[in-house]
Symmetry: C2
Subunit: 323 residues, 2 copies
Amino acid sequence: MTEPFERIAVVGLGLIGGSLLQGLAHGGHSVVGVDVDPATIAAAVHSGAEVAGDTATAVRGADLVVLAVPLPDLPDAIRSVAPHLGPKAILTDVGTLKSPVHALVRELAPGAQFIGGHPLAGTEHSGWGAADPLMFRDAPWALTLESDADLEAWLRLASLICNLGARPVPTSAAEQDTAVARVIGLPHVLAEVLALAGLAGGALGLSLAAGSYTSGSRVARTRPELVATWCDGNPGLVRALDDVIERLTATRAELTAGGSVLPLARAGYDARIGWEQRAFEPVELPARTTDLLAHGASGGWITAVLVGSSGAARLLGMRPSAA
Amino acid sequence: MTEPFERIAVVGLGLIGGSLLQGLAHGGHSVVGVDVDPATIAAAVHSGAEVAGDTATAVRGADLVVLAVPLPDLPDAIRSVAPHLGPKAILTDVGTLKSPVHALVRELAPGAQFIGGHPLAGTEHSGWGAADPLMFRDAPWALTLESDADLEAWLRLASLICNLGARPVPTSAAEQDTAVARVIGLPHVLAEVLALAGLAGGALGLSLAAGSYTSGSRVARTRPELVATWCDGNPGLVRALDDVIERLTATRAELTAGGSVLPLARAGYDARIGWEQRAFEPVELPARTTDLLAHGASGGWITAVLVGSSGAARLLGMRPSAA
């Protein structure tokens, strides 16, 4: 095993931060939370969590600091954390897009050892009251590994995430944001547009709307401010939109020429069913940045970080099986 | 009440036809089914349904004939039914698009009294084995009422559909197809395109795909041949695609200019929440084609068809409440 963290600070005790605090505490880790909202603090203390009175107290002495605040609040959080970070402390976060956070940390806490994190977990609810210590079980968790990163620090954090039952996915900030554009940003934009296109069709259509409209527009129920933080400033989303506009334009042309959507529907069916039926197989990996990034890019994740008696680490993981 | 049907024939005993046969039988109607598939016939007979040996036997003597076969099989079904239709028999169907069926009936059974029907019900499964007599409870059921239609025939069929617990929606074939383009055709095309755009992003994205991708691409699991029958040949879908392409192009421009998806997300959120929270109020309607069509276009449906001692019919219904 890698060297465990002695003291973990979680800054922000909403749905994700609260779940993380509870999950880490249940895993036997020493963890302290902090939040700016008095009601959240009271609820956390009431449920037995250790909560610090201010950020400085929480961060001082922590060897891992997790930023779990919404993106608009992140600059202030970084500024309040930075002066109190120990020289060996690792800083991470839980936001959807990683490049903007890397840029903020470079600007506001240039000395910090930062590893970006993005757990793919959550519910429709928010706040400490909806937190769940088991929220991260089997959840993918993108963990940025830049080519110049400190691999040992990354392995320690990956090991902690494995202990939460989640699936650390090694990736660069840029690659994760490009990937997320297609599977988070794009589905949200399409849901918003579908909800609006349905409404624009008038009341008759809204009365005839059935399961396909319901599921297709479901995530338009998400708080708009959150959707914006998942979409804005991500060049990958522009490319994903170009892809979609091109496919829709081709479909339109096919229909106006008296053709059929059948080829599109067959390809879409194969894509969806293929995704559902992906199979995975165990793999052992060397603790080498290039190998780990290739593993993440191939759809794999880490299940355990092992350190032998020689001190050399090796990793166990899962990767998609060859079909 | 309107004059009830004495004998109903259901041609095709798949998911919808089977559910209809069972639902009508449970409602005390005299109903006979027919199917071309021996296994379906055996299963229907085994469960106590009345099944005819051939279409002629089923249709002769029926005053309502329901075509419940897939669109590609409809021309053959119309040809086999037409010679046996009594002079007062009403012919209806259960397909998604109504204009193509009206055109087929005009061509292949020009003397038939045809009213197009489209129950918004179903499951992911198919066939007699998945049939459910309660499938149509609270389901909208588009029922075409052309300006030159026989209103009395329409009222008899609407009354029967009310007895099934469903919600007849008066509409013209053209208007229903335009409406369905946006709430059935479009969500399917978008789901196919999302499934493909996700796949095109590579394995990393497929491993990070979460709830929004799952629900957004859900109906890409539908049999491609069905999707094609719901989309092809519907000019309304081309206009819906134009609408969507325009919205996506504007979103792309906003993003490349450093803008935000926030206005789109707010509008989409309002559209979706507004749709979920629609409220309805009871209304009484005269039995007049123009009033009924206006009622359907406004998002209303019929709940009962009443005939007074004078013989004049009036209708009860529900319509969206003024906000």
